[in-house]
Structures are given as structure tokens and as C-alpha cells.
Amino acid sequence: MAVYFNNNVILQQINNKLHAPGIVIQTVNTLNTAALQNATTTPADYFTSNSITMTKSTNRLIIEWHVDLRTNDWGDGVWNLAYMDLIHVQSGAQLAYTGYIGEYTNNIKHSHRSAVHTPGSVGPHSYKLRGWSYSALNTSFNGTGGWVGNDNQSYIRITEIGA
């Protein structure tokens, strides 16, 4: 069924979900508890989200991530840096790139940000994070014990917004 408002906006049911402009249609959350260590300057796949099938091809997706990370103490007085990016798996498009993360000393950081993507089809769509190192030295994404020391909780959260 559909309800038509006098500003020509339509509130309707599509695939058992309510749809209207601007509202949140659905959220797909992917929790990752694995760790990645990459000691190269080449991007390595970290983890991939569960897929989302959109209700309408013109809708937008907000892809949010959080990852704790550490360049494993290359020393004080040198750049200790990591990189991450977000890739749309189906097209290979890079949707966000962190650039350098770190300091001119040992440091432990995190990356938390999001990207907006309009893939143009209902999908399914999935997204992956990649991580790599500035100096071809050990860089950790997640990891208990002597690595990051976090709770091994990183995520990619996809939210569909109606158009």
C-alpha cells in the first residue's frame, strides 16, 4: 500500500519495509573480531561487510566503520603511520581514504568515519576495509595482548536512506 501526502511525497511499503524520502529504511551491521597485521606498503583486505539489498535503486547508503589500530612502535623520532580505505566490492570504487594515521613517535590510534554511496542499483552491495603500512613495518588492525590491546571489536555499518 502507499499513502500520498499533499507535497507529493509517498510513504509506501517496498519488500516489507516502509519507504519515504529521508528516512532510514534498513541497517546492516557487520561485526569483525579478527585482527590483521600488515608489514607492507600494499593494501591488504581486512574484512568485508555483509551485503545489503536496497529497496530502491536511487536510495543512498551511509557506510560507517570503526577500527582500532597500531603501528607497532617503529621508534620515537620517525613517522609511525598507517593507512586505511573503504572499497565498494562490486565496482572496486574507493569511497574513502584515510591518508596518514599516526605521529612522529610510537602511537596507538583508531579510525572512525563514514562515506555516502549511491550505487545506482538495488544490489546486493558489500563493502570492504583495507589496511596497510607507511614504512613496510608491522601495523596492526584490532588485536588483543601486545598489539592494539582493544576488545577486538571493529565494524562496518550500512544504513539505507530513502530518496
Partner: protein
């Protein structure tokens, strides 16, 4: 038309081709851009600006902001960067509504500032949110400048009331 529920919540057509419902997102304005800027201690520098036209008095705007920064003042001294947000609208002009405080360390550093907060837009009208940056000492660079990062953002969500 509107649909009135038994708890007096109202689902109604609203401005901007949207539907207003209490505590729901009425509209979403994305501004994702790759910032390239630098600032000294002398003056705040504009980084991102996003405009939204609200559809109902006292609706709230969820502001979501992220921009990278770098400060290489000197090793062993505070290398710090500041971020802030201004708003202008029907009844307000360049008011500061968010301030990061010191961001950095006593080492050369490259980082980012990411924050979400709510702003109540008291009147229906067009509101412009502007993010700015400043250095504590030396020069701070923002966005892709000296970090290589891309896709910085200042996004606005209108929340119904």
C-alpha cells in the same frame, strides 16, 4: 494529509518533499568533499559548509563532521590543531556551536576530528553550518593537505518533532 496516532504523534507532509514524524529523520543533506586548506594562529579558516532548510519549528539538526588535520610544529613541543562549527540562520548569525579544544600531541602528528552533535533550529528556514580550523602554534594543514586523505564531510540530518 496527516495520520494521527492514538498517542497524538502526527505523521504529516512537511516542507522539502519530506514527511515529518517525531524523532524520525525528515531529510538528509550530504556534503562530502576533499578539503585542501591550511591555517596559522592568525585567523580561523573555512573548511566545509553545508546548508539545510528546515521544515518545522524546533526540529533538531544532527550535525556530523569529519576532517583530517596535521601539525608539525616541533618534536617535543605541543603541535595542536583546533576545529569549530558556526551556524547562521533566520535568527542567528555565525554563532559558535561546537569547539574541539586542543587536538594533537607533543610530537609531529597527523589525525582527524570527527564529531556528531544536535542543534535545535527554532524556526523554519535556511541554516548554514560552517566548519573552521586554526593552529595553536605554527601551521596546521587540513584535509588532503599533507595527509593525503580524501572524502571529508559535513552532513546534516533534520530530526522530526
Amino acid at each position: 494529509m496527516g495520520i494521527v496516532f492514538s498517542n497524538t504523534s502526527l505523521l504529516s507532509g512537511s516542507g522539502n518533499n519530506s514527511i515529518n514524524l517525531n524523532n524520525q529523520i525528515v531529510q538528509f543533506v550530504d556534503n562530502t568533499a576533499t578539503v585542501n586548506a591550511s591555517a596559522t594562529t592568525a585567523a580561523w579558516v573555512n573548511l566545509l559548509s553545508t546548508t539545510i532548510t528546515t521544515s518545522k519549528n524546533n526540529n533538531r539538526v544532527l550535525v556530523e563532521y569529519m576532517c583530517n588535520h596535521r601539525n608539525d610544529f616541533t618534536q617535543g613541543n605541543w603541535s595542536l590543531t583546533y576545529h569549530r562549527m558556526l551556524v547562521s540562520g533566520p535568527n542567528i548569525s555565525n554563532a559558535q556551536i561546537m569547539y574541539s579544544g586542543h587536538m594533537g600531541s607533543a610530537s609531529l602528528n597527523i589525525g582527524y576530528y570527527e564529531r556528531q552533535f544536535l542543534y535545535t533550529a527554532s524556526l523554519v528556514g535556511t541554516y548554514t553550518f560552517t566548519a573552521q580550523g586554526l593552529a595553536f602554534q605554527g601551521t596546521s594543514t587540513f584535509g588532503t593537505n599533507n595527509s593525503g586523505s580524501t572524502n571529508h564531510y559535513l552532513r546534516l540530518y533534520e530530526i522530526g518533532s
